[in-house]
């Protein structure tokens, strides 16, 4: 009986040794988290950010309007990685005029200046034809395609003439440049994941998701049995 107990004790000890080491080291580090400034140090490993679901951003619309990257996330419009205004409708495209960047949704034109600052939103009340489908340029003049037809204006955008043109350069969506994507990831998700956060998740098993929590439960049970078998064997020595 004693030999069998000793064998069980050894096997369990070997099985959970690695976990005990991890728990001890992470526990000690977490105990001194403030002193070691673990909450101030960020990890930005791509696989880790991806694991935490903070490594990527997905824009609803992206348009490259030199020198800016214009994107839409929900109802927010971004110039590069800076939110400048909101748009309740999906962004359809944009063009660059001399001193103005014009973005189009189906019910309005959103005007930005050459520095990417929001000027104003022009809707049908300001004379912009409704039900816009796309925006483009024809020899430097803004052109919009609506359900009713094609309209051309000048840089003032307050007078539109119904026209039929060939060879309009329509605005097309683009993929997000990597440099802007990195800035947007930083905007939405911050600097990364703190060392303290990762250590805490390793310590409580949540780094592996729900399985990790169950695994730690199992380690806890095995540690309890290990303690009990240890005490039992120690007491046996005095008999």
């Amino acid at each position: 009986m004693n030999r069998r107990m000793r064998s069980l004790h050894r096997s369990m000890g070997a099985a959970i040794a690695l976990f005990v080491l991890i728990l001890s080291i992470t526990g000690i580090l977490l105990n001194h988290s403030s002193d070691l400034k673990l909450d101030k140090h960020y990890l930005t490993w791509p696989w880790l950010l991806s694991h935490y679901g903070v490594g990527d951003v997905k824009a609803d619309a992206i348009f490259l309007l030199e020198p800016f990257v214009i994107s839409q996330f929900g109802t927010e419009i971004f110039v590069n990685a800076k939110p400048v205004t909101n748009a309740q409708r999906p962004l359809l495209g944009g063009v660059v005029l001399d001193e103005v960047i014009v973005l189009a949704t189906d019910d309005a034109l959103i005007l930005l200046n050459s520095e990417g600052e929001f000027i104003e939103r022009m809707s049908a009340a300001a004379g912009v034809p409704p039900m816009i489908q796309n925006i483009g340029l024809f020899h430097g003049a803004p052109v919009i395609q609506t359900r009713e037809g094609m309209w051309r204006s000048d840089f003032m955008l307050d007078k539109w003439e119904l026209i039929s043109l060939q060879g309009v350069g329509w605005s097309l969506p683009s993929p997000m440049p990597e440099s802007t994507k990195k800035q947007l990831v930083k905007y939405f998700h911050g600097e990364g994941v703190t060392v303290e956060h990762v250590l805490l998740d390793v310590h409580n098993g949540r780094i592996l998701g729900p399985i990790g929590v169950w695994l730690l439960d199992l380690v806890g049970i095995l540690l309890t049995i290990l303690s009990l078998t240890g005490i039992w064997m120690w007491l046996r020595r005095f008999r």
């Binding site: 909101n86 200046n113 929001f118 000027i119 104003e120 022009m122 809707s123 009340a125 004379g127």
Partner: protein, 178 residues
């Protein structure tokens, strides 16, 4: 006994239906498009829109009224004789609320919620509430009257009061500079 029981549950059901209806009345969405508001205000005889650029002393004055910087470089308005219509947006708690404001002879003629996007506080769309602003004037960059708040709609009421004050201030500004 059974009949009383049935009557009770029928009454409860009707009350629930009524409650859900009243919630729907003040729900989110577009009440009126900007162009319909302008067309209605000027009886389809639309004046050409103009813009006021937010620069120099006007920017800090607007920031003082709104309690934050105005997120735009110019504001569009429509003016005919003594009537000026403004379409202004202001965030209540999280989402922008679109207001239509008509100023006549330096007083508020009408204020309307054109689009309400907040999840709570939709009671400000009620005419019984917006009537409080009728004939309101500016007094030292503030409204000349107290506006009764609505429980649970504090931020939306604040947004409407700021926008009404802004419309009066901007009308005064454009009339002085023209």
């Amino acid at each position: 006994m059974n009949r009383t029981h049935n009557a009770f549950w029928q009454l409860m059901f009707i009350s629930l239906l009524f409650c859900s209806f009243t919630v729907t009345v003040f729900a989110r969405g577009v009440n009126q498009t900007n162009e319909d508001f302008i067309a209605e205000t000027f009886s389809n005889d639309l004046p050409k829109s103009k813009v006021v650029w937010i620069k120099d002393d006007l920017r800090p004055a607007i920031a003082n009224i709104l309690g934050h910087e105005y997120a735009g470089l110019r504001i569009r308005y429509w003016q005919k004789a003594q009537r000026t219509a403004w379409i202004l947006e202001e965030i209540g708690k999280e989402s922008p609320i679109t207001f239509g404001v008509v100023v006549t002879d330096g007083k508020i003629e009408q204020v309307k919620v054109l689009a309400y996007r907040e999840s709570r506080g939709g009671e400000i769309q009620q005419r019984a509430f917006t009537r409080q602003y009728a004939d309101a004037k500016l007094s030292e960059q503030k409204l000349d009257r107290h506006i009764d708040g609505i429980s649970g709609a504090t931020l939306s009421v604040r947004a409407m009061t700021s926008v009404v004050t802004l419309a009066l201030y901007l009308t005064q500004f454009i009339n002085q500079t023209e």
